[in-house]
Every structure is written in structure tokens, then in C-alpha cells.
Amino acid sequence: MRFKILLVLSAAFSCFGWGSFGSPQYFWTGAWLSTYSGVSCSSDDLPRATAHKAKFLNALSSGASANGRSYLLQLNYENSTMTYASFASTDKNSCDVVFWTGHGDEGSGKLLSNDCYHERYFPFGGSYTKWVFLEACHFFQYNKNPWSYDDSLMNGAHCVYSFASNYKWFKHQTGSWWCCTFGGCKCFSYSDDRWTYMWERFFSGNYNLWGAYSSAMGDSHAEGGYGVEVAAVTLYGTLQDDNGHTEYNYLFACPTKDWAYEGLIYPGSNPDGYLNAAFLDEVFGTPSY
């Protein structure tokens, strides 16, 4: 199916033309991870980061495969190779999905690379990048809009999902001392399960991506006894497909499994000043900031 952008997005993308490469069949992915072990500029190690990344990729791979989509880990940087250059200078055009797990910084929009660059000038997307997941504490400012960040934020990505509060890692014993003794020692919940929840919900067809993301994060943190504020910056606009069906004020953070409108943004498009960007957020429980 071919699509074209109709109205609102034209202000942002008029200089780039129509996107018309149809419903993508791909979930090609780039992943960046650091546990910060032995890294002097990091006050805290993130020992569960490896498990988080593994769950994210495994669940994505399984869901894509079950739905006849193509999954490929195109870019993969861990620890010593997760440098500022590996993220900022690497061409992400081949990645539909970008995943980062590491430190953020108190709502500043900054990330900390393994080689101690503490920067906000990360170009998160590439020409074909649709969804960026930044598993980084308090990346977004609480109750603030996204326009205070640098213009290179999205760099063509359709949406960036992250957190506007701290988020927690945990291996949590759900039933106190007695559970392990009498429950076969399976009374644990793990923070990395959040990514399984998210992709399973999305690929079930019953959730769009923002719904899957926010509900999975909310459920995961409830399992650990924590609050969290989830957030996303997303493009939005009014669209029309070749059958004449119009989607008004469509939020690109909310595609469904068939992601009919996800092929619309032209490769290389980069909205100037986020004229048509929106900031979504949802608070679960009592987060820390």
C-alpha cells in the first residue's frame, strides 16, 4: 500500500517530498549498551543492562518472526565499543529500531557514553529509523516540552520513547521470605521483563506501540514496587492513504501492528524546530526524580 502525507506534516517536510515506500516489512535494529563497570565517570554500575538488552532484542525478534517481519541486528555496541562516536557518528539509516540502555541525566536530555561523553547532541534517528527507545533515567524533563532540546534530537526518527523520571532495575522477590521456601523459588519478578511485555502486547495486535510501551512500563514498575513516569516525543500529522482514508492528528508514537502509516515519512526528513512534535507522558505510582 502506498501513502502520502496530506496536510499538517507538510510544513515540516515540504522540502523533502512525499514518503511512499509503503508498509515496511522490517525491524532492523541497532543496540547500544553499557553497564559502566570500571568506568570512572559513572557513579553507578548498571549490572542488569545486559539482561535488559537481551530481553528487548529477543522479544522483538520473536514478535517480528511470528508476524512475518524481517528482524536483523544491524548495529551492536556494548561497553567499551559503546562510545559517543559509535552513536553520534554511525549511520543509522539501516535501523528501523534504535535501542539505548545506559545513564541519562536529570531531565537534561543528555546521555552518558562509555567513554565519558556526557552529551545531549546525539542524533537519535537515521533516514529509515522509526522508533527510538532510550532506557535512560530521567532523560526527559518532568512536565516539560521537547522543544528545549537540540534540533538534532530526532534526526528523522518518528518518535523517541524514554522516561521523565528515574526508572528502576530490579530482581524482586514478590512474596517475601516464604515464597522462595514454599513456592519453588519462582516468586521473582525481573525488570527486564518489561521489554517482553511491551513487544508481546504490540505484536498481539491489541495495543498500539505507545499503549504497549506505557502499560508494560507501568506493570513492570508495579511489580518492583516503584513508580515511574514514561514519556515520548512524537511527530504527528494528518494523513491520507491511497484509498482516500484520512487519519486526522495521527500520533506516530501509536502505530498498530500493521503500522499502516509508518512508511510515510520521507528518508532524510528532519523537522525544523519540531513544529509538529508532541510530548506524551504518563505517571504510574510515585516516581523519583
Binding site: 528502576k168 514454599f182 492528528n249
Partner: protein, 293 residues
């Protein structure tokens, strides 16, 4: 680290703990602390009635629901044309034709605060799903900010199931009602497994005498804190400065093997010396078979 925490907790207990260490568990259950029950939908009952735990010492097996077979009646009762069944979570999902309005930039919002979502959802359940015994748990609200304004995009009101006068803990059984910015119910999720009495072990069960001392509770909190904290952000040397029970309830906890066992459920707020805090739910089983000698 456990030693440090124990010392801290012991000091807290001796001098300034907000936990009433001379009280036993039954004190906490019977109104000493604020219940974490947050609302009732059943008219004519109050929290005191609910907290008088009249239920038996029986355990139940959790069995997959028959809710998929109730598709037609649910569609009719809820007046929602779209039905889906999530077999992995055993959840029925009902959608109205305007479900996706929850995920569009709204042209206007008629909802100004989260309490309105709660009111709409409660009325919906009482009118359309009266046979489902639930109580209000929480409301999750998504807001959207454009350059022009910030507004409410949608809300999800979470209800948890009441069973034998106790709450079902975790994600075992619930109803979620999603509402768009115009106040329309657009999506309902129902997770309603069946519970079947496990008869073959009934004779071996004996109810705990409710005299677990608060010092034991403190050690539980300490263990739980230690377990969590050792896995959280690497801050495994941040000691507790104080801890307090901020809620209690009778509940049912899902054990391994899909067994539902009765518990006393506490919410404990732990305050760390660095100023951070966390809430921890600690569930203590009613049945003696789960208690150490």
C-alpha cells in the same frame, strides 16, 4: 550490607521507628494503620466490614477463564462491537469503534482531572458489568503537550477483583476501563480467571494465629529491602533511615503452580538516608504451612 541494615533497623526500632514494634500483625490488620484498600464499589459495605476477615483457610487453584466464550454477552452488555482475546494473558478486550480516538491529538478535551475518569468508569461497571466484584485501584492518565497547549489525552481506570472479601494481588484478575478525552469509554479489559477450591490439602492447613511480631516484620522488610536494593542502580550501600507501614489489607497472592493463597498484605515505605524512598508490598501468608518453625 544486611548487617548494616539490621543495625539501622534495630536502631530505628529502639528509638524512632514509625513502625509500632510492640504491636503484632493483627494490630496492623485491624485498623492501626491505613488500609491500602482504596475504594469499594459495593454499596452498603465499608472498609471495616471488609477487614473482618471471615474467609476460610482454603487455598484455590487458578484456572483459565471461560471469558472468551462470553464474547456475545460481553459485546451486548458493554455495547462495544469489537472483541479480542489475549490468550497469553487470559484477557478479554472490548473496543468501541472510536477506540483509536485515545491516540489522536484531541481537538478538544472535556476531561479536566483524573477523578472524572474514575467516576465514569465506576458508573460503567455498575451499569454494564454488575456481576463483577471489583474495587477501584488507580487511574493512569496520559497527557499530551503540543506547542499550543497541554491537555489530557486519555485515562485508564484500574479495578482489582474482590474474592472472598480479600483483594486479588498482582495482575491475576482485574478490569481496566479506558476513556478518551471526550469522556467516552473506548476500551475495556477483563481478566477473570476461575478459582477452584483445592480440597485435597485442606486438612493439612491451619490458620496462623496472627501473632507474628512486628520485629519479624522488620526483618522481612529488611530482607526485602536488601534484595531490591542490591539489584537497583548499584546503590547497594544506601541504608534505610526509617520505614513505616502505610497500608494493609487482606489479600490473595498467587503462588507458583497457580495456587491462590490468603495473605496479609502490607505496603511499607522505606526512606533512605539519601532522601529517596520506595514503597514495598510485603505479603505474609495466613496459613501456617508457609511459616518457618
Amino acid at each position: 550490607m544486611k548487617t548494616n541494615i539490621f543495625i539501622v533497623l534495630f536502631s530505628i526500632a529502639c528509638f524512632s521507628s514509625p513502625i509500632k514494634i510492640n504491636k503484632n500483625v493483627s494490630d496492623f490488620i485491624n485498623g492501626i494503620t491505613t488500609s491500602h484498600r482504596s475504594g469499594l464499589l459495593v454499596p452498603g459495605k465499608n472498609q471495616e466490614d471488609i477487614l473482618k476477615w471471615k474467609t476460610s483457610i482454603i487455598e484455590y487453584g487458578i484456572v483459565k477463564s471461560s471469558i472468551e466464550k462470553q464474547k456475545d454477552s460481553l459485546i451486548k452488555n458493554c455495547n462495544m462491537p469489537i472483541f479480542a482475546y489475549d490468550s497469553k494473558r487470559d484477557v478479554a478486550i472490548l473496543k468501541s469503534e472510536n477506540d483509536e480516538t485515545r491516540f489522536r491529538v484531541p481537538s478538544k478535551s472535556l476531561i479536566s482531572n483524573k477523578d472524572e475518569f474514575k467516576s465514569i468508569a465506576e458508573k460503567f461497571i455498575l451499569k454494564n458489568l454488575p456481576k463483577y466484584s471489583v474495587e477501584y485501584n488507580s487511574t493512569d492518565v496520559t497527557t499530551i503537550t503540543t506547542k499550543e497547549k497541554t491537555s489530557i489525552l486519555n485515562g485508564t481506570v484500574n479495578f482489582r477483583r474482590i474474592f472472598m472479601e480479600g483483594i486479588i494481588l498482582g495482575n491475576v484478575s482485574f478490569i481496566k476501563v479506558a476513556i478518551n478525552s471526550l469522556g467516552e469509554v473506548t476500551n475495556v479489559e477483563i481478566c477473570w480467571p476461575e478459582f477452584i477450591e483445592i480440597k485435597n490439602n485442606r486438612s493439612s492447613l491451619k490458620e496462623e494465629d496472627n501473632t507474628i511480631p512486628a520485629t519479624k516484620l522488620l526483618s522481612i522488610v529488611s530482607d526485602d529491602y536488601s534484595d531490591i536494593n542490591s539489584m537497583t542502580d548499584g546503590k547497594d550501600d544506601t541504608p534505610l533511615s526509617s520505614a513505616e507501614i502505610i497500608g494493609s489489607a487482606r489479600g490473595w497472592f498467587k503462588m507458583d503452580g497457580n495456587i491462590l493463597t490468603p495473605v496479609y498484605s502490607f505496603i511499607v515505605k522505606g526512606n533512605l538516608v539519601n532522601g529517596e524512598s520506595y514503597n514495598e508490598t510485603t505479603n505474609i501468608p495466613v496459613l501456617k504451612k508457609y511459616h518457618p518453625k
